[in-house]
Subunit: 290 residues, 2 copies
């Protein structure tokens, strides 16, 4: 999984959040140079300024291609939060314009459909798209119980049900996260994101719409079965812990090596303090619904 | 589908909302007497008072059984909104106490699991559980375009995708409703209910988290593939129209004969006025995900 010093620097196309810089640091620690291509409106400007970088709009593929070639970046990683744009917001440059008919079709569907189509455009232009977890394997959540709290037998059954549900939804290109409590599916994530889904569970419990008592239930995150793992692996962090605690859940389960975290030690510390378990479950674990 | 005057009056166990009284009226129009068993905390007291009735708590199965036998109700319908109680809220009477170990197991799972288990308890006690749509077929949403607005080819594809997703989630006892817009799954319903799901889509679009322009997308409702249709068929009404309009959707699709509405004419009138289509799609329509 580790990355030998490749030919030329690694290009990192940066969305929002901390992940782009965690990945950049990890790659640099391995002795490889990086060049950041910070997406305007998404990437953190202060952090970006600490690295060799260029800014570009989401629709400026031509600008990216020219700058990346000058910088001799052949390998490229796309990482960080970004919302799918509407076509009107894309402001395409000339090179992007050429791809507009394809982009229109890519926007008609789920996130994998969009991202894998974008990946193909990069590769047709001579770039090699790498997964962030390939160049920085330390961001992958490992297998096992990660903090000091343990999942109960009931929690383990809830996890297995959650994983199986995510798998069943796979062909529909939706849902990397669900909440299951005592065998009852409380919430399924779509466009709202994990934090939005957890806030909903918290609100429903607070309003008495979900009548469960005490710390119960698990938020389960896993990649869709057929998704391109170089793109958009599910992520967890201290924010997930806070949202899960507010929702009254007992813990967090992710597919081991199938989810990323910007700071594993902080994730564990926060979960330990909040009284939540964090488990990396081996890929392939799933209980058939009874 | 229509109901011959059966032996004795029909018992109607009434949750919240208008459905119990719509069903009672429809049954009485056919010449059969009804006795309402109004659930305390859920049934509308003013409307209940217009019919022969008794009040009972959710945990008073013994009281129901005694009163229903006195009234010679052998056929029973359960209809109207009710939230699953926590065990602590059940306040079981003596007869219910006997079933408590089973009820504990029934509460550990999805709504079908709970409802079909409750139905079995009724049947073991000599009652015949009937679907509301069996005794009052006029509440079923029929097949076809129901108002003056028509679904586009894109809308039809979104509906088929929604139906297929609901089918795929079936084994997990969750999800009678989803929102699909231009082949992209925006939301999946679990414990929040359809109105909660539609309010979320409205909020996400309003906040720019979902970047779609104009009236687009369909809310699709259908029963789970294996659910007991005597219980908990998905419902639509004027409230669904208002929530779908607020979410910027183009229309509403339900499985024909697989969803109920308290007032079809009002549903159509409201949808026509709001500019939304309403379609009853034939059962068995589903597009495999591409």
């Amino acid at each position: 999984m580790s990355e030998p010093a490749g030919p030329g620097p690694l290009g990192i196309i940066c969305g929002g959040g901390n992940f782009p810089f965690v990945v950049a640091d990890a790659v640099m620690r391995r002795g490889r140079d990086v060049v950041l291509f910070a997406i305007r409106g998404w990437a953190d400007a202060t952090a970006t300024a600490r690295y060799p970088h260029h800014w570009a709009g989401l629709g400026q593929f031509g600008r990216f291609r020219r700058l990346a070639r000058v910088a001799q970046c052949r390998d490229v990683v796309i990482i960080g939060t970004m919302l799918r744009p509407s076509l009107a917001q894309l402001n395409p440059d000339l090179a992007t314009l050429r791809y507009l008919p394809r982009i229109v079709r890519l926007l008609r569907g789920g996130d994998d459909h969009l991202l894998s189509g974008v990946a193909r455009i990069f590769e047709e232009n001579g770039f090699k798209l790498r997964g962030a977890h390939e160049v920085a394997p330390e961001i992958l959540v490992p297998e096992g119980t990660l903090g000091c709290h343990r999942a109960s037998a009931r929690d383990l059954a809830d996890m297995a049900r959650g994983i199986a549900l995510i798998r069943a939804m796979g062909p529909f290109d939706v849902g990397q996260a669900v909440v299951v409590a005592d065998n009852y599916v409380l919430a399924i994530e779509a466009a709202e994101g994990t934090d939005g889904m957890l806030a909903r569970v918290a609100a429903l419990r607070h309003a008495g719409r979900i009548r469960l008592r005490g710390r119960i239930g698990v938020v389960v995150k896993a990649p869709k079965p057929k998704q391109d793992r170089r793109l958009d692996l599910p992520s967890v962090g201290a924010g997930t812990v806070a949202a899960a605690a507010a929702a009254g859940l007992a813990g967090i389960a992710v597919e081991a090596e199938g989810a990323i975290t910007a700071d594993l030690q902080e994730l564990i510390k926060t979960a330990d303090a909040a009284g939540l378990f964090v488990v990396g479950i081996p890929a392939g674990t799933a209980r058939e619904p009874s």
